[in-house]
């Protein structure tokens, strides 16, 4: 018996207006890696309570696959059980990607409402000691869906906004991009018809961005230690 992991790539237009910020906790459970990931359901503009995906982390070849399910009683706001899959190159545990990773997340609602099939997803390690009580607060307090510009400005600052937007951009390479993104885009001979992750570009830039963000006391993000004081307010 095997396990088949189908992954599709969306060619649909993707609205880049909002960003979901969620918390992923990965731990070693008796030699099997497990994860728990928070999420909220957007519903008519209102964000409901925080829910969780839970499941194993598969390690197959160079790939780490997080497969989680959210199974809980149905409510008016939460109609269906859901699944989430995140796939990323584990880079053989490389130092460049220890604190910042990029992967693909598959859609959790591939129904006829044309939900996007996949989304580029970046994961930034919380650089502070997260105890269990603080983890619970972090998952509730940091999980949010809000505008792309607001999230980037508050968590990363305006200096790095363009390239962060590019990391999160789900349009295939060659698609016309906004002027602010052009300096970071290598133009190919023709537009791609599938989304590809530029892991090299991410590994090259993200470490330096993180260094800047960590040093900038004006920025308060969940992966920074100054978030703890924010949670206690």
């Amino acid at each position: 018996m095997g396990f088949i992991l189908p992954i599709g790539y969306s060619l649909d237009f993707i609205d880049t207006g909002d960003v979901a910020r969620e918390v992923v906790y990965i731990w070693n459970n008796d030699s099997v890696l497990q994860f728990r990931m928070s999420f909220v359901n957007p519903s008519g503009g209102d964000i409901g309570p925080v829910h969780f995906y839970e499941g194993p982390v598969l390690l197959v070849g160079r790939t780490a696959v997080l497969i989680g399910t959210n199974v809980e009683p149905k409510t008016a706001q939460r109609e269906y059980d859901r699944a989430r899959i995140i796939v990323m190159d584990h880079d053989n545990g490389g130092g460049d990607t220890h604190d910042c990773k990029i992967g693909l997340m598959t859609s959790t609602r591939p129904r006829r409402d044309h939900a996007p099939c996949t989304a580029s997803t970046i994961l930034l390690r919380a650089k502070w000691k997260v105890t269990q009580p603080l983890l619970d607060k972090l998952m509730v307090g940091a999980t949010v869906i809000r505008s792309l510009d607001e999230t980037i400005e508050k968590d990363f600052g305006t200096a790095h906004a363009a390239i962060i937007k590019l990391f999160l951009d789900n349009r295939p390479s060659g698609y016309p991009v906004e002027p602010e993104l052009k300096p970071y885009v290598k133009a190919g001979p023709r537009p791609e018809r599938v989304l590809r992750l530029d892991t090299e570009r991410f590994a090259t830039h993200m470490r330096h961005i993180l260094t800047d963000v960590m040093a900038n006391k004006a920025l308060r993000a969940p992966f920074k230690e100054n978030w703890v004081a924010h949670m206690r307010m």
Partner: protein, 129 residues
């Protein structure tokens, strides 16, 4: 016969990941070497000559298949009276079987520092149309 059927089911599910050889004699010899069980005991199970597996054997077999099996096999499941009962017990654990690479545990140990911890994830959230 049930013990035989459960054993063959587990071999079909996990034999490749456990790098089991072909042929009952070779399989029995391989598992005997890995678990410390007697080759004759294992051949008895594989040939259908063992109606019920004793606890010590069940534990060693469960440990062996659990090198790659997810969910982890509980040794008591190996005394099920039918394949259907075995599958029901396994299903009641609320998890489904998944074959892992044989090097999963060593890879997990090697990547633990890289993967484990708390991460903040960002991604574009499509607006509901």
């Amino acid at each position: 016969m049930t013990a035989q059927a459960i054993m063959r089911l587990l071999i079909s599910e996990h034999g490749v990941a456990l790098r089991l050889p072909a042929g009952d004699n070779q399989i029995a010899a391989h598992i005997a070497h890995e678990t410390g069980l007697a080759q004759g005991t294992l051949l008895g199970i594989l040939n259908g000559g063992t109606a019920r597996i004793n606890e010590n054997t069940r534990r060693k077999l469960a440990d062996f298949f659990n090198r790659v099996a997810l969910p982890q096999i509980q040794h008591v499941w190996l005394s099920s009276r039918s394949i259907a009962e075995f599958n029901v017990q396994r299903a009641q654990s609320s998890v489904i079987p998944l074959t892992m690479p044989t090097d999963y545990r060593s890879t997990a140990a090697a990547l633990q520092n890289w993967l484990c911890g708390v991460h903040i994830a960002y991604r574009v959230q499509p607006r509901l149309h």
